[in-house]
């Protein structure tokens, strides 16, 4: 069987057109074909790869090379083309895919497997469920009573560094990056001669929960690895928030941050682990973090 599906579709469409049933249409999908046994084969490449993502959809542009240059000058979605006033099917579906993956990340749960791999037990904030968590950021900054008791019971008191992991707004951020960043971080801190606390996982966590944690642990430095709010197409970015002796009342001004930790166009998690170690060493050296660290360490 040598006839391709394009030929089959073209023939059928020609017949339909002759009968006035369909208007002239563009080329049928290049993604489908018929195999040797005559069965339909749809075996698509990943449309989220850069080459497909940036494909130009404009029919007969006035200046094809010029249009390519325009599109290359920005990450905005240009040159996408249109069907009447609406987007082409492929750009519509790519958009839906990009949004879909953000929703899966926000409403996802960090896998048991990854928590077990690093021996993380789980505690909860005062936001018991995901919808409440989204409605009440203030509750995501507070540990519930059971969490406080569990942490007190299970954790080493007063280590140099306490590492916590929180889901934040992206479970995928933890699932995809923890395996790379955690060992780099642990190894780096130990090599620096720092003592580590007992790590754990906080569900429905906001950044401010590190204050509540250290009110119990009294570590010198808290490192919180937490999922960021997913952007369209990048749903697994993680942030590392660090604070010197965080206590209730401390704000972002008292913290340092490495953001956009992801293998999808951000800071590589292995490198990020090394950056965190450097930050922590400085914090301990100067007994400060955030704006104060920049003041006492004398740099901008």
């Amino acid at each position: 069987m040598t006839q391709t599906i394009e030929e089959v579709v073209a023939r059928v469409l020609a017949e339909l057109r002759n009968e006035g049933l369909v208007p002239d249409v563009q080329q049928p999908s290049a993604g489908a074909r018929v195999d040797d046994a005559g069965g339909l084969v749809i075996d698509l490449p990943d449309p989220t790869e850069e080459v497909h993502r940036r494909a130009i959809g404009v029919t007969d542009p006035a200046d094809p090379d010029g249009l390519k240059n325009l599109c290359a000058s920005t990450s905005a979605r240009l040159g996408v083309g249109r069907a009447g006033p609406r987007p082409l099917t492929r750009s519509l579906l790519l958009f839906k895919a990009d949004h879909g993956v953000t929703q899966d990340a926000i409403y996802g749960v960090v896998s048991e497997e990854i928590r077990e791999k690093f021996g993380l037990f789980t505690v909860h904030t005062k936001a018991p469920e995901r919808d409440v968590y989204l409605l009440r950021p203030d509750w995501g900054r507070l540990l519930d009573d059971e969490a406080k008791a569990t942490i007190k019971e299970n954790c080493i008191q007063g280590p140099d560094v306490q590492i916590c992991v929180g889901d934040g707004l992206s479970a995928a951020a933890i699932d995809n990056n923890l395996t790379d960043i955690y060992p780099a971080l642990e190894q780096g801190l130990k090599s620096a001669g720092l003592t580590l606390g007992t790590p754990f996982f906080i569900e429905n966590a906001r950044v401010g929960v590190m204050n509540d944690v250290n009110a119990i642990i009294h570590a010198k430095v808290i490192v919180l690895l937490i999922g960021e709010r997913p952007g369209l197409g990048i749903a697994d970015a993680m942030s590392a928030y660090m604070g010197f002796d965080p206590q209730p009342g401390k704000t972002d001004a008292d913290r340092d941050l490495i953001c956009m930790i992801t293998t999808h166009g951000g800071t590589n998690p292995l490198e990020a682990g090394a950056y965190v170690v450097e930050f922590v060493k400085r914090m301990i050296k100067y007994s400060a973090s955030g704006v104060r660290l920049r003041e006492v360490a004398g740099d901008a």
Binding site: A62, G66, S73, T74, A76, V80, P85, R86, L134, L232
Partner: protein
């Protein structure tokens, strides 16, 4: 003051007008977060029953932030037309709703009464309205403004071309501007949110956009949405500014958190009149959004709808060319889902028009809100049906700088085609002239940014 009603045999009593207003509000997560929302659906209706009987004078006399404590309250109250106020002060909020909706009441009559309204009165009547009330009421009020284009004529829908770039690359912004123009986006303004708020950067973007406008003889105005003080400095140094932008908030304390005051905006307005390159007489562009005062912990115990209405009353002081509510940007802790976002957009449009300002909407959402692009498109249809003046145009609805989703460059032409709406008249003539628009729809040439490489 005694404020109470019975409902299904139960008595509901409210201590203050501020409490009645807050509890009469449609369900909003921000009011719940602030702890001022109705506790039950029945209590919400009870508050509305009471509100419907409140005379407008009582709303003026009980602003949600006292006159002596708040310059926003003073700016609004001092602007009330006392002659017209004498005519309407005895109307109840319920009567006011029916007067607005009456087929005997036309746009001119409402515009006249607008001059005697405060934000509390405007928000009060919006709270008694259903969504279709808001559409019917909003649609009948015409607010026409002029900068280089004429905004707000019935049957038109404008689009802000929003070609943002994550690091303000001039080439990147220019490319996205071309893409938007090729879809007919840009009649409201070519307006960029900068990531770098410096005078040099803002000036560069103004110069580049002015150059496009000149080269293609585009009837429109340019704007960079930086802090007002940055734009003032850029203008002083000669940057070509078409519209002056600022975000507003509904209390003095919230204004302070934005680094602005009534006096500063008076100054900005005077400077725009003196130095803007555009025709006028309207030179200002404001953005607002429910929940902004609460997020600055400056809500003074008032609900987010009444604070939003106060933004519009304040904005009127500077005769804005356009105001838009960035309705879904703030996040789910203020507007939880598409139902709350849609309601807020309709409220904001109606309240703006009732106040007498030109009103658009950034129909948008963030990824952690319970909403998606279908919800956004549905709201865009609702908003256009309500007579909304303009929406945003963003490449495929995905803002590369602000990380949220808004209306696509495709959406204004789609709404124009689906609902029989037109671009602003001067801009429509230009679109026809360069050949991208004919007989109310896009031509084959449209949607091709490289068209603008020809000059």
């Amino acid at each position: 003051m005694l404020l109470r009603t019975k409902l299904f045999g139960e008595t509901y009593e409210f201590a203050t007008i501020k409490e009645v207003l807050a509890k009469a509000n449609e369900e909003k997560s921000g009011d719940q977060q602030a702890g001022i929302a109705a506790n039950t659906a029945a209590e919400r209706v009870a508050a509305r029953l009471v509100l419907a009987e409140v005379p407008l004078s009582v709303l003026r006399e009980n602003p949600v932030v006292p006159y002596d404590d708040d310059e926003v309250t003073r700016a609004i109250d001092d602007a009330v037309n006392e002659t017209i106020y004498q005519e309407i002060k005895g109307w109840t909020v319920g009567e006011f709703r029916e007067w607005i909706l009456s087929n005997k009441t036309d746009s001119d009559q409402i515009r006249r009464v607008s001059n005697a309204l405060t934000g509390e009165m405007v928000a009060g009547v919006a709270k008694l309205m259903s969504n279709l009330d808001l559409v019917v009421g909003g649609r009948k009020i015409h607010v026409v403004t002029h900068c280089n284009n004429t905004m707000g004529l019935p049957g038109t829908l404008a689009s802000r071309n929003q070609p943002n770039h994550p690091t303000d690359s001039i080439d990147g912004i220019r490319a996205a501007t071309y893409e938007g123009l090729s879809y007919g986006s840009g009649d409201s303004v070519i307006g960029i949110n900068p990531s770098d708020d410096s005078v040099g950067n803002v000036s560069r973007i103004l110069e580049m956009t002015k150059d496009i406008i000149d080269r293609w003889e585009i009837p429109t105005q340019n704007c960079v949405l930086s802090h007002v003080t940055t734009q003032m400095e850029a203008m002083k140094r000669g940057a070509p500014l078409g519209l002056m932008f600022q975000s507003l908030a509904g209390s003095e304390k919230a204004m302070q958190s934005f680094g602005i005051s009534v006096g500063l905006l008076d100054e900005a307005y005077d400077m725009a009149k003196k130095y803007a390159w555009t025709t006028g007489p309207n030179y200002m562009y404001f953005e607002t959004g429910q929940g902004s005062a609460l997020s600055a912990d400056a809500h003074n115990g008032a609900d987010q709808l009444v604070l939003e209405a106060r933004n519009y009353s304040l904005a009127k002081r500077w005769d804005p060319y356009q105001v838009n509510t960035v309705v879904g940007f703030i996040g789910p802790e203020y507007l939880y889902d598409s139902r709350q976002i849609s309601r807020a957009a309709l409220e904001d449009h109606f309240m703006g028009k009732l106040t007498g300002i030109s009103m658009g909407c950034d129909v948008c959402y963030t990824n952690h809100a319970v909403a998606d692009q279908n919800d956004l498109e549905s709201l865009a249809v609702l908003f256009a049906s309500a007579g909304g003046s303009f929406i945003m145009g963003v490449p495929m609805g995905d803002d590369a700088m602000l990380s949220y989703q808004s209306t696509s460059y495709h959406d204004a032409p789609s709404l124009r085609q689906a609902l029989g709406l037109r671009p602003l008249p001067e801009f429509e003539a230009w679109m026809e002239d360069i050949g991208i628009w004919k007989n109310g729809q896009l031509t084959d040439l449209a949607g091709d940014a490289s068209l603008f490489l020809q000059r």
